[in-house]
Symmetry: C2
Subunit: 252 residues, 2 copies
């Protein structure tokens, strides 16, 4: 399938994915690219097979969430690097759930890297590359009027449920879900869905079988920190998932 | 009075003030310096008379707050650039109240500069120069355990009351209180007090008699933006305040 040449139907191109119109107005094609970016795209590289691995991991994890009644946009795979999804209006928020302190939390609070948090922490960021995805307080979020109160509560509820489902699932594979970023959107009927992707580009995942501080990292921090073996680490996650999940379904 | 040579009693030296022990364990001397800093002290200059003007403005505004039963650390002046204050344990938070969008709010949200906010917005920042005073969400604040729930509510209540009192007071002098930063501390008896200073270094104040976008600025933005006439602008505020207030009391 040559999605990449079909620019006529291109709806949106992001840093790691392209979204295309499908033959149905309520569905879109989501293609995973090999581009890796970090630090608001100031670091950029092509990583062979990343698109494939992230598409497969995302498909599996969306199916896991589906099995636990977490509404999400995924409908099925249509190619190795491409899934069919419900068309949603994306809410311009990055919803980050943290179980262990890492990344910006450690630069912006005195909480030490690696510290387990007493309860999952939800951080909301305004999705805007030019502004550098700034953190939002509840009061600022309300001021922006991006969500009504019901949507705010529903997003928190769903984010915590995703955390609980995926933490449990990955823990059985001896993988620790440190933190992750979700995006949400509303479909044609106004239903709130988990959208975007769930992959090592958007999650921090540590290998419980490896106690080395760098060696245990199986996510995009390998790319950010120039640790090498980025796609190999992503493949390790996929391999463990495939050990317990059937192949993602094909959308027909 | 030569406070500056008395390093033996120096308790703390900040960017714009020095705090000294007094002869009483529950009181400290707060000396206002002529140093002006911005951008986390990357810009630094001496501005003649600034310490004097800010000390006088702070004293007057603390007396205004006192008249409206807002508990604060100010006790009276002991010299032109020095006040006596209750000794407090400072809570490491910068409590910013905004009436009109300016500064970081405009860099971190799509809200335009100069937009009047539908209600005063409170932003809490973790007071830490090395981290660049990062914004705190309610959840992060709770995680840090800096305040109990009662103190959180009391700080919000006091910050809004200070805003209401000072906005009304300054508006009568044809000055608009755009936003300001407070710090809070607890005295020996555990009472929460407005501490630090309230001056054009910590408030944005616009002159209603001047419609020019730069000309109306009477606060530290003149220094940040290299507009010149910094102390002259501060003196204009002091002049208007002195037009309606008696001289700050002398502490004896």
């Amino acid at each position: 399938m040559q999605m990449t040449s079909d620019h006529a139907n291109l709806l949106y191109e992001g840093k790691a994915k392209r979204v295309f119109n499908s033959n149905h107005s309520d569905r879109v094609l989501v293609e995973f690219k090999n581009d890796a970016t970090a630090f608001n795209a100031r670091k950029h590289m092509q990583l062979r097979k990343k698109g494939f691995v992230n598409c497969q991991i995302s498909a599996c994890l969306f199916e896991v969430l589906e099995g636990e009644q977490v509404p999400n946009h995924y409908l099925g795979l249509i190619a190795d690097t491409c899934m069919m999804a419900q068309r949603v209006q994306i809410i311009p928020l990055e919803v980050v759930v943290r179980n262990i302190a890492a990344g910006s939390l450690c630069r912006e609070t005195p909480i030490s890297f690696g510290q387990e948090l007493p309860a999952p922490l939800i951080d909301l960021y305004y999705k805007d590359d030019e502004m550098g995805d700034p953190l939002l307080t509840e009061a600022r979020l309300e001021l922006l009027g991006l969500l009504d109160r019901e949507q705010r509560l529903e997003i928190s509820r769903l984010a915590l449920k995703v955390n609980s489902v995926l933490s449990t699932f990955l823990d059985k594979l001896q993988l620790t879900l440190v933190d992750f970023k979700l995006e949400f959107g509303c479909n044609e009927s106004g239903q709130l869905l988990v959208a975007d992707e769930i992959s090592p580009d958007t999650c921090r995942v540590w290998d419980q079988r490896n106690t080395d501080l760098d060696g245990r990292i199986l996510d995009k921090d390998r790319f950010r920190k120039d640790l090498g073996g980025v796609v190999e680490a992503y493949e390790e996650i996929l391999k463990r998932i495939q050990g317990v999940c059937s192949k993602p379904r094909i959308y027909r």
